[in-house]
Symmetry: C3
Subunit: 215 residues, 3 copies
């Protein structure tokens, strides 16, 4: 680690990582937008089109993750600690996976009525992904630490909000729904969406770790 | 790593980590006690009070985890390998999360009758957390390796016991319960409790790794 | 890392890791075979016998994982990066765990009719484990990189196939099954099997990382 630190002064910081993470975060914003459009689709055709788009974007994200990991494997110098880069890439990938998984479940389970809680969670995920985009972009220079920190605080509070929505929806589901298969379906979808916001919080946490280490 | 080893002889071991882990493990014992009281509450009010207490303690634990991670990010010298400290803190945090999650589910699902299996699992979790407390405290000096090892063995055997209770309860649930929504609820709670004991085993495993590396 | 690289030229590569991983992969092949036999058992007795065999082999695997981790803790020089060895061992262990978990659920839930999707997934898991065995064995010399890469490609395509089978089975289950408890049971088993193939993909990914780093 001390060697890394010294060499960081001698060698220009690898710009490639920042370019890749910027691409990754921008792609995540697109996925989360597609999710919001998916849950608000007014026709089956529109919904299927949005699901295909989520799937395609998730695949684009997979390739970016793979590129980051290859860079990590072959680069001696990294702008931040290797394990933090790894964790950041993995967490962004996880968010995309859970978004796709939630949308796919909605299709597989032939959900006709998208509940208000599902729509609200999709919206909170989109907001969190926008904040992630801000924070990840600013990691590039680190001269805007306050802006990064504020984005992280907002991601945490969006996750708390999502938690409340999730708990309320689960309580209502078990309280009112008598069809057990319907309970299983909605519970499964709600869990996938809520887990996506947990993964957003993981991103905020690792970014905060990076700030602590580089302050 | 070799540098770490050499420097360990020159610099007094950082006492801060031990103090933080001791606090973390003591807090975990409190959470597990609160869980046992929660599942044995004789009134709704008492139960809600215990849930609030679990929630508060889980929050205290979150802050301790955060402190450990910050120490880890900013300290060059650590008493054990960084990844082991990270894993130990994460696993203790996970136990607290699953305890809170199980209790929260019991409330969300409006479970009136706490089954004997749930009570038994809560009790096994409390016992495991007590053993974790012993083992973590003794990491401080490492001159009581036998006591640490024995605690780890007991954690493993408590996990095996929990596994049997869990499997028995699941088999009975699917065998006898005809209301599918009830099946979902109890299965969900049992999984959360059983996962808490898995996380206790993770703690025992990482402590054993630390012993191997420092023997 | 640079020190590791230099020393790798001075010290003969530790053969012990390769021997342990070869044993681990060969054991995994046995577990996957036992799973295929389990789902195709023609009598309750035969099924129970196969479950016991899976359990025993999973226990053997646990011990090999433990040996690898102890080697990792006590060896200064490792043939590949420590984190990759750790991840490879953990992923192989996870595959075995999910195989046992799926089989155990089939027993706990008293499933009488093993569906074609379950049989097909078991078969795909066995094929993936055979490919893992090829790839892990060839890591020993790295002079057959093409063969390792081809095995990894096949593992990825087997996982895609498993994904399709899983999605089809889930869609059909929710479409046709009216008994909610039956839905829970089959969904649970299908998830465990599908997760086993995900873990096979994790093995392929870490092997590809090892190849990138050592090319």
């Amino acid at each position: 680690m001390w060697l890394d630190k010294i060499l960081t002064f001698l060698v220009p910081k690898d710009k490639k990582f920042f370019a890749l993470f910027a691409k990754d975060a921008a792609n995540l914003v697109e996925i989360s937008k597609a999710l919001v459009e998916f849950v608000n689709s007014h026709s089956i055709e529109k919904r299927q089109e949005n699901l295909r788009r989520i799937h395609d974007l998730e695949h684009v994200g997979d390739n970016i993750t793979h590129e980051i990991m290859t860079e990590l494997s072959t680069n001696f110098i990294t702008p931040f600690d290797r394990e933090d880069i790894h964790y950041l890439a993995t967490s962004i990938d996880d968010i995309a996976d859970y978004i796709y998984s939630a949308a796919k479940k909605i299709e597989l389970y032939k959900i006709e009525e998208i509940s208000p809680a599902i729509k609200k969670l999709a919206e909170l995920i989109e907001k969190s992904c926008n904040e992630i985009n801000v924070a990840v972009f600013d990691l590039r220079s680190l001269d805007n630490v306050v802006r990064i920190k504020e984005a992280c605080v907002r991601i945490n509070s969006l996750e708390n909000h999502a938690d409340d929505i999730y708990h309320g929806a689960i309580a209502e589901l078990f309280d009112k729904e008598t069809n057990a298969v319907t309970v299983i379906k909605y519970q499964d979808i709600l869990i996938a969406l809520e887990t996506a916001t947990d993964k957003c919080e993981d991103v905020a946490n690792v970014i905060e770790t990076i700030l602590v280490k580089n302050s």
